[in-house]
């Protein structure tokens, strides 16, 4: 029965759809195929989430091979949460994409964009559902390679160097990851995450495993773009096509954080993590990321670059939440993972609409846009408020949890830092708002029109989600807390 | 102002009226003090039991406040264009 194969279909559907776009290189067709595939993925992901909620984790053996030999997929609440997040965001972005792609990517390459996009989606979903450490690497590389190519599709020639730099750094990160997996395999003889978790405690003290852990943290840190491994990110997000920036910012780094969570808590286990000096260095890096990312963002002239640095800061928040190693902290981190995806996709997409209309995202070129493109800029403002953490937006919810976690752990200076860097966020968002609303001659740019409806609808869908989940907090918090409890060894 | 003859002025600001107003005002002041002879003022803290306490206390503190403000003004006053021109870029 097909229903029992749903876990693998999650990956197969976009994977099969991808080559279709190469074979039939027609723009409209490719878009339809891609949209159908992502929507199917979304449906599958939601089904999985509901099933996991009702019946607990799902395991699936690929080709019927049992876990230690074959590749096993395992979907628990966190994986289901991630698949929903990734497929939801990618669907919305695809709805947005046709006009933006039409403007930013030449007709001859449009079908390749959809191919790469689907491959990327495959990789990201695969990472979320797989229960095998090596298989995870394969999916990681599928998503990474396609994202290098996606970034290189940017119009600016700097997109090429950015993609190349990302390629080098990403490959090093991924290679670090397999080195670590290899070392763990050498010590335990298994690649299955569940088995690893069982066998690791015996060999935890060996140097091999300790080195493996170092490789893991640095390798995944590169993928997450955690400070100071973030060097590749600003250029990549700045020069990639708008749609790609939105997609990567919202999903790629989030999935990398997912890997970190998996490795730390599902493989090594919360006790081992607590016993090792892992959380403290991560926390310090997170604090640096928060403050430095936001501070650099303030001085940027390119709005996309500003958002890129802001992403580095926001990743800091997520990692900070994780580094508390408490249910509240982890809940905050996981919530922010979801919430940041919502805000950043909304923000990047509104910049995409701006670029579509004025051909630039330099802040100075946005003067008077508040009048010319009221809906787009209003979405940007709401997204920005969410980023700052204004009440009634999702940003408030996750910051609330982070602050609470800090206070519960007795580290109130960290709570102060969280708030202080929110103020920095206010400053950089304000810079855009000020220019868009308060600068520029009223007559300037009278010919600029509001973005088309096909762009506004997805933008406002995400913006609405920012507000909706900021007010109706029940569902996201329940899911995030369930995931956090599970990671910390609570009942699954 | 001075080229306006007294009769062109509003009746309230004519010199004669002002003079009458002063007299009326001073009469009222006297009246409030005299009233204290009829109304029993029960003080709470000692000092305020003195005769016409509120009158001289009001006069005195006001004088002190005006003079104090004047002195502070030497330090704090700036031309009212002080902030103009240099805070345009915040």
């Amino acid at each position: 029965m097909i229903f029992s194969h749903i876990p693998v279909l999650q990956v197969i559907v976009p994977l099969v759809a991808a080559p279709l776009c190469v074979i039939f290189p027609f723009r409209k067709f490719c878009w339809t195929v891609a949209l159908a595939a992502t929507l199917t993925s979304l449906w599958i992901a939601l089904t999985l989430l509901i099933t996991v909620y009702a019946h607990g984790p799902i395991t699936y053996e690929l080709g019927g091979w049992a876990a230690p030999w074959g590749i096993g997929y395992r979907i628990d609440i966190l994986s289901a949460y991630m698949t929903v997040l990734v497929s939801l965001i990618s669907s919305v972005i695809l709805v947005f994409s046709p006009r933006s792609i039409g403007a930013e990517i030449s007709n001859a390459r449009a079908h390749l964009f959809y191919t790469l996009y689907l491959l990327n989606l495959t990789g990201l979903l695969g990472i979320a559902v797989t229960g095998d450490a090596f298989n995870l690497f394969v999916f990681l590389e599928i998503s990474s390679l396609s994202s290098y190519a996606l970034i290189a599709m940017g119009q600016d020639r700097r997109a090429l160097t950015a993609a190349f730099q990302y390629l080098i750094m990403g490959t090093i990160g991924a290679t670090f990851y397999i080195i670590a997996v290899g070392l763990m395999y050498a010590m335990t003889g298994t690649l299955n995450i569940a088995d690893l978790a069982q066998r690791l405690p015996e060999v935890m003290e060996t140097r091999t495993i300790l080195v493996a852990l170092a490789f893991l943290i640095v390798g995944i840190g590169l993928k997450i773009a955690l400070f100071p491994f973030h060097g590749w990110l600003p250029n990549a997000y700045t020069y990639a096509p708008s749609v790609v920036s939105a997609f990567l910012a919202a999903t790629a780094t989030k999935v990398a954080v997912y890997i970190l969570l998996r490795i730390l808590f599902s493989v090594f286990g919360p006790d081992a993590v607590a016993a090792m000096p892992i959380a403290q260095p991560l926390m310090i890096l997170a604090l640096f990321a928060m403050t430095i990312g936001s501070a650099v963002a303030i001085f940027q002239d390119d709005a996309k670059r500003l958002l890129a640095y802001s992403s580095i800061a926001q990743i800091g928040y997520i990692i900070l939440g994780i580094s508390f190693l408490s249910v509240t902290g982890l809940t905050g981190g996981i919530l922010h993972l979801f919430n940041h995806a919502l805000m950043k996709s909304a923000l990047f997409l509104s910049l995409g609409a701006v670029f579509y209309r004025i051909g630039s995202v330099q802040i100075s070129d946005m003067a008077g846009l508040g009048r010319r493109m009221p809906w787009t800029m209003a979405a940007f403002v709401v997204g920005g408020m969410s980023l700052v953490g204004t009440p009634l937006t999702v940003g408030f919810i996750s910051k609330w949890y982070l602050i609470r976690a800090a206070l519960e752990s007795g580290w109130w200076p960290i709570a102060v830092l969280v708030l202080a860097s929110s103020l920095l966020a206010m400053i950089y968002i304000w810079r855009v708002v000020e220019i868009a609303y308060f600068r520029g001659h009223p007559e300037a740019g009278a010919d600029i029109k509001e973005a088309p409806l096909s762009m506004l609808v997805p933008i406002w869908f995400l913006t609405g989600a920012n507000i909706y989940f900021g007010i109706n907090t029940g569902d996201t918090i329940t899911a995030a807390r369930a995931a956090a409890t599970m990671l910390l060894g609570g009942p699954q | 102002m001075s080229d306006l003859s007294e009769l062109d002025k509003h009746w309230l600001v004519r010199k004669a009226t002002i003079k009458k107003l002063w007299i009326l005002g001073l009469l009222m002041l006297a009246l409030t003090v005299v009233a204290e002879l009829r109304v029993h003022m029960h003080g709470e803290f000692g000092l305020d039991e003195l005769f016409a306490f509120n009158a001289w206390y009001g006069l005195g503190t006001c004088a002190i406040m005006v003079v104090g403000a004047k002195i502070l003004g030497y330090v704090l006053k700036r031309p009212d264009t002080y902030y103009e021109g240099d805070d345009h870029d915040h």
Partner: protein
Amino acid sequence: MIIDAFPPGLVLVFGAFLLPLLPGPVRAAAILLLPLTTLALIISLPDGNLVAIPFLDYELNPLRSDKLGRLFGIIFSIMAFAGGLFALKQERVAELSAAFLYAGSAIGVAFAGDLVTVFIFWEMMAIGSGIVIWSAATPASFRASMRYTLVHFAGGVVLMFGIAMTIVDTGSIAFEPMRVGSIGTWLILAGFLVNAGAPPLSAWLPDAYPEASFSGSVFLSAFTTKTAVYVLLRGFPGTEILIYIGVFMIFYGIIYALLENDMRRILAYSIINQVGFMVTGIGIGTELALNGAAAHAFAHIIYKALLLMSAGSVMYMTGKRKCTDLGGLFQSMPLTATCGIVGALAISAFPLTSGFVTKSMIAQAAVDQHMLYVWYALAAASAGVFLHAGIKFPWFVFFQKDSGLRPDDPPWNMRWAMILFAGLCIGIGVHPAPLYALLPFEIDYVPYTGPHVVAMLQLLLFSGLAFFLMLPLMKRTLTLSLDFDWFYRKLGTVAALAVTDKISRIRNRAEASGRRLLDTTIAAATRPVKPRGALARNWETGSMVLAVTVALGLFALLFF
């Protein structure tokens, strides 16, 4: 989720978004009807927690109805009505929308049963009031609104942090009386005090309010500081430090108002002075004192709005705002002058006005608690109020010299708004019983006793004498006075201005070297994050790889 009644504040909040969409005449009707609907809703509210919404792990109670909340709700909605009437002809709809958002949020705070709701409405107020200032649409108002918003967001952050700490401490989000002690409660107090205009962060008030439009400052005078009074009443009754803060605010307001030349800045400083009375009352904390603070807030909203309406009318008709440019206006604006004088008498607490029946409760509470110095200070301050607001404002605007200006009284809506509030000032003063019935505690206070009336008349009339005797000392000059906002407006950016000061040269030198130090520090601190700085420029691949290698080594070392 339980909803037993509709939160009255939301009528105005939703109305705010509706206003720009309505055509002219319908909008005018809505401006008048929305506050009245709100008022009716508030009066009809039964006591108790009427709405419960699950949020995060808690339950929000955005509609806690009791006497204290209702008192503030009533005056806020009356104020919204009168303000709306006064601003009926305001062309900028944005200002009215923002003002309604602002008023609705203030009512929201008044009925907030938990700290999170307080915070949410608190921030909405900051946004609403910021837009009110901004919509005066002058460069100065734009800059002032920026500074205003920044101060309030900073205050909001402090408040938020305090709330978070308190919730983690106590495990409850209920908004109940607190005792200062933990860092959390101190921060909440600080956040509240920023909005009350307490020192040192008080300068935002005279900085921003006078920059609003003629009608904008009427709204502004009512809500922010009075919601702060409300939350202090609710959260920190009897907190001793508030007495000292309040007394400081009283005299700070008087002194600065005496120095001021701009008529609306005079009134702005006098807001701080009046709020000082209320804060002192809250600090004293007896039932009489708290009743006094609440009643005084009620009365203050009315007469201060009245004063700002008359100032606004003058500005609307003449376009001038400085005492040095005004004078003699009573001849052609008799109604405005009369209403202004009524407001001035009320603020000075003349017998038969609202100020008399409310402020005296606070002084009486100080007597009852045998607080000698507080009482002396309050008595001196009462005299000072008459001096700086009671006489100074009407004298310099409506009398003084003849400026030659002969403007008419303002349009009908502005006149009626003033008449309404002037009537309320006198009505409450003559017949205080209805107001006393609304107060949070039972009361058997009699304001009109022989000694009290005589004492007050003596005090006020003799300070009036002092005013006219010392008039030469108070000649208006084209100046402003430095306040705490100098630190964020001037320090670090101050140009070598030619200053009237005798010690300017020394000061300039000190300023220059201080500035240089500050500039280099700031430059050194921000250099790494500026575009070409180490942290912000594009890293070479090689150095990134090197960083990765080093990090790997460090982690490996750490784990061994």
